[in-house]
């Protein structure tokens, strides 16, 4: 029996886009290839990142402004989500930084980093930089469609993909970020 069509993960990248392998040397082509590869990785990530864990992993009191001392996860849900992010990173031969963003109910127009993988996705986040105005590409993802964003200085490429829970609600945005300037080396 084949997989029901409504259960398939959406195809976002051009068909045949590889997850690994050499990238073009020419900068513009390289940017395009990285973005496509991250889009394909985001599609695979939809099978690994648990949307219900994204929805539930933060304790209700921590979903709005709260002291860092009191910030608290549901450990099981958080571990499930973290496990997914770490696995997604390992599928690529690029040094992909992963993170999941959520909307802040108490701060319209702002996104908050819910959880990061092995490092902060550096285009939009960093040490103690978790609450940000929602960039256009991220807003597109919160609206249900993946977006691609390059940093103004050209250093980073991020793909931002909607994360849906079991009710098919968009409950967060997965960011996959790669440094384009060679700062981050391939890990495989």
């Amino acid at each position: 029996m084949s997989v029901l069509a409504n259960r398939r993960y959406p195809q976002w990248a051009p068909p045949g886009t590889p997850l690994t392998g050499p990238l073009p040397e020419e900068p513009a082509a390289r940017r395009e290839a990285v973005a496509a590869r991250l889009l394909e990785l985001a599609r695979v990530a939809m099978a690994i990142v648990d949307g219900d864990a994204v929805r539930d992993c933060l304790r209700p009191a921590s979903r709005i402004e709260i002291s860092g001392d009191d910030y608290e996860y549901d450990a099981d849900q958080c571990n499930a989500l973290r496990r997914g992010l770490l696995r997604v990173e390992r599928l690529s031969d690029l040094d992909v930084q992963t993170g999941v963003w959520r909307l802040r109910p108490d701060k319209p127009g702002m996104a908050d980093l819910l959880l990061a993988g092995m490092g902060y996705p550096r285009q939009f986040s960093g040490w103690d930089r978790y609450l940000i105005p929602i960039p256009a590409a991220m807003q597109q993802a919160f609206d249900g469609q993946p977006g691609t964003g390059f940093s103004d200085d050209g250093r980073y490429c991020s793909v931002l993909a909607p994360v849906r829970d079991s009710l098919d609600d968009t409950v967060g945005v997965l960011e996959l970020c790669v440094a384009l300037d060679g700062e981050a080396q391939p890990v495989l």
Binding site: N79, R82, L86, R87, L113
Partner: protein, 579 residues
Amino acid sequence: MRLQVLSDRVRTSPATGEVIPRDLPTSEAGRSLESDFGQRPLVRVPRGGVASFQVVVTTEKPSDGSEIALQAGPWQAQGGALDRVSVFYQWPCRLSNEEWTFEGLVPFEVYRAARSAACQEPLGKRSHHAFWVDVPAPREAKPGVYQGSVGVPGAEPLGVEVEVLPIELPLVPRITVDLNSYATHIERHHPGLTGEQLTECETSYYREAHDNRAVLHYLPYGHAGEMARGYAPPLAGRGRNLHVADWTAYDRRFGPLLDGTAMAGSPGGERPIPHWYLPFNFDWPADYAHFGTRGYDHEFAQVLAEFRRHIQERGWTETSFEVFFNHKKRYRYYPYDGDERKHEADRGAFRHYRALVDRAAAMAGPAGARAKIIYRTDISWSFAHDATDDQIGPLYDLWVIGFSNFSWTRQGVEAILERGQKAWWYGGGSGPDGQTTDADRLAVLCWRRGGDGFMPAWLSMAGDAALDRADPLSMLYPGRRFGFDRALGSIRLRRVRSGTETADLLEMLGAEGRALVDRLARARDEDWWTPTPAWALYPPETMNNDMYGSESIANPLAQRDPHTPAVIRERAIDALMEG
């Protein structure tokens, strides 16, 4: 040029050459100590200690000080000499209130050899230059009064006596002073160094701390669990096959610290570094993608067992290797606070990792039994609960407790000590804007409370800019601007050394030492502790920082003459000499 000799208990002003007012003695005993030193400069030092004093040189014309050819020592007595004298140029720094004082210490030969641009400190050319002189008293030195002098060409030398006492300090200080820092700071402050150059630079930081009887504690991983380069040996395999692939680089880089050869000739004692953070964390060596599985547990315990065996095989059995989790939820990586637990739910993780530490010991068996692997926690909110809790209390070998919590939870500290565990506190240290003897006071306070050590600040390694602008935390500075890719010490670090020496002298006196401290601090036994605030016994989840801010912390020494620690030290020496 004019010379003036001062004790090591004060700072001077780079602008006036005078002692800064907050360091002036306010008691009869303190004034007497200073005036006695002024009339007859004499430093008493136990064997294994270091005699220190200062020289202020006033030049006829403002200068950068590099032309001052200061000569110090050697110090000689019949049948011996103290000839390992070190002279440091005191670097001026600006305080938050825009006053100037001194803090960083640059080896004077380094300063003189540095390019002139390096010597252009922000205060500009001055007439008053301060020097710090260290005269170590080796353990084998013959007791007696050693004569020496300081001078510059064309000026009358000034005599300074060093009396080596027939008292020997213990090789390991009774009070551990922990200089905490974090992975990658050395590389950040000395960019471009690699290989042996980086190792030599790094070792100089450990050595500078050790020379002053403190411990550089360099946490090797970040909050995600990522490792500073080289601070963990490479691994190979997965699951039951996970193992250390190669110890070579790890041994070459850290072996000299762990076997003590890097401390050869150190005035802080020829011994291995006493404490060492292991690389173990939530994501090393075990793969956090498997957290909660038997594979994760096996990976963690198996590699820790391998560490045990390796440590024993290498003979690194004097160092306490710490398993410590610094991760915090707020940094968006893990669902547990490994550090500063506040939530009840985190307790399970601590118990689990203790079980893995014990499992590793069992796996290593006799081949790793002599390795000192200890489980450390840094704790504040939950301390009053956890220290006396039947399940949590026994988990840890080393408790590093918030200064306030330590101060108001006497029953908790005593429970730790009764179990044979160690109790340090963190915090409570002051910057160069504090009184010069603040670190002495902390050491005496720690000893008087029965504690085992303290971490004055969470970060003890400053960047270059902090040389000019006082950093309230750091005691170690980079020498790079002087063309010297080595650590620079500081006046506060010298006070740490002095304070731990005083604590050792008091320890030799035992109960008599406690009575001496109480008498000079005019304190009763209970005055050394703060009453436990009611909220400290509530569930930690109900606490907040405002509660902490509302409490004042008992420290009888803080209300006394800043020279009281020195008076205590001298009286302790008197008592030991009489005894």
